[in-house]
Symmetry: C2
Subunit: 308 residues, 2 copies
Amino acid sequence: MYKTPFQITILGSSGAMPTSNRHTTAQLLKHDNKLFLIDCSEGTQIQMRRMKIPLMKINHIFISHFHGDHYLGLPGLLFTMHLLGRSNKLNIYSPPGLKEIIETHFGICNLKTSYSIIFNEIEKGGATIYEDASLKIDTISMLHSIPAYGFLFNEKPLERNIKKKYVNKYNIPVDQILKIKAGASYTTPGGEVLSNEELTIAPPPQRRYAFCSDTGYTESFTDQIEGADTLYHEATFMKEFSELASEKLHSTTAEAATLALKAKVKKLIIGHYSARYDDTQLISYLNEAKAIFNNTYLAKEGKVFDVG
Amino acid sequence: MYKTPFQITILGSSGAMPTSNRHTTAQLLKHDNKLFLIDCSEGTQIQMRRMKIPLMKINHIFISHFHGDHYLGLPGLLFTMHLLGRSNKLNIYSPPGLKEIIETHFGICNLKTSYSIIFNEIEKGGATIYEDASLKIDTISMLHSIPAYGFLFNEKPLERNIKKKYVNKYNIPVDQILKIKAGASYTTPGGEVLSNEELTIAPPPQRRYAFCSDTGYTESFTDQIEGADTLYHEATFMKEFSELASEKLHSTTAEAATLALKAKVKKLIIGHYSARYDDTQLISYLNEAKAIFNNTYLAKEGKVFDVG
């Protein structure tokens, strides 16, 4: 149905610390021909190499918060981009404080990067921090022990699809086709006016991806993400540790699923698994969530999900 | 011949940046029952988990210099040690400046670690920075674009081995056995004096391990490492790039091997391979070095080398 790819690739599914086969949080989001990196844990550049992701094509990096498992791969990635001779500027969006960290690292080895880095500081949830012709990205306030933000990737209305038979019949010029795709009607050389509704087919609905990590259970952003095509919500613990989850401002499987249900999203991905669970236990994890919200999937390194 | 283990495990063999299957520089040194970490590149904690190395038993970490590929795994490892509830103090040895970096990371998330970190600043080569009953560790001045140090691990004299037949014959008490192993003679209850030479067998020679990375070719530390049992020397490039190596203050295969020859070491390990070489090319790497110094080995993730 959709011609424009809108996908996320899981680079790390582990919470707090890596295990022997799970990396900590990072995701690659692809929309059309653009690549965005969401969080950048230790080893993210290694994961991208393994998955043959062209890291130099990433121009925008979004950091949710400054717990080590969400950003410690950033200095290494920035070093590598320099070593590879990057010249395109790089935008990073994060809570305040990142510039000092990066400049401390660069300062200690007298590094002047081959490219410029623009540090965009996130001050609040519900703000639009990025916008282009096809995508708008908003922040979401998480409930966590330090300032933490989720990200809502909103696809803009797709172009209407022009019916080929009219293009052929009237030999419509290219400049007019672009206008028609954007919503214009068309007047033939003979003076006949064809309405846009007649000339085109409506595009499929706009898609939305909500990334929510790390957070305790909160319904404060339910309205904002309502009806999203895909929600990634952290689920650090199974139900047995709901008190611990609450104390640490993390979520359980059941809480992530409950939020997905309340927000009426179409698909839920859970991840950020505690290192206490090994891979064989994740099926129980999934079952706990599916009992509440059936269309749930497990984050797993290398897995690619279509947003809608 | 040796009862005391003295081994290094390669955690990363790649120079500058990781590849899909090579991590950047880190090595674990085991002497007797003690574990030391030499450099700590991005992903080192992941490598240790994969190799089932008990990372909480590491009490001393040695950082050669502040290029990203040698220390960027340190913040993540320190975070993980905190999450695991470490209480033992941790000693880190590095050129000046590390405290500021680590405190900047911890400050941004209000982290007070569960253990204390002692930052030991290295000011010069040829200095002894660590000493215990069985090991002494000295710095070695590297030739590099920023202050950089190698490390020389010197085993102290091992105890003499007491001949069992004398223990049985004279029923020598334990306190006396310890003295004899340390070099004392023994007087029997009957007044007979047995010399230490008669009672004991000399231990095998003391072993030494020299870690030299990153460095351009220099003979300035040849005397210091002369006769070492094992030398790890970086070899970023093959001979074809000797000019580039010289310009970047790195070494070639031939230079590492030449230094091993001049320093009369017993064994050479080369690593820190440029990402331009894939694994299939490393046999040529090895051959170039072996043509000059035959007892050369390639560093490879997971490989364990006996120092002597």
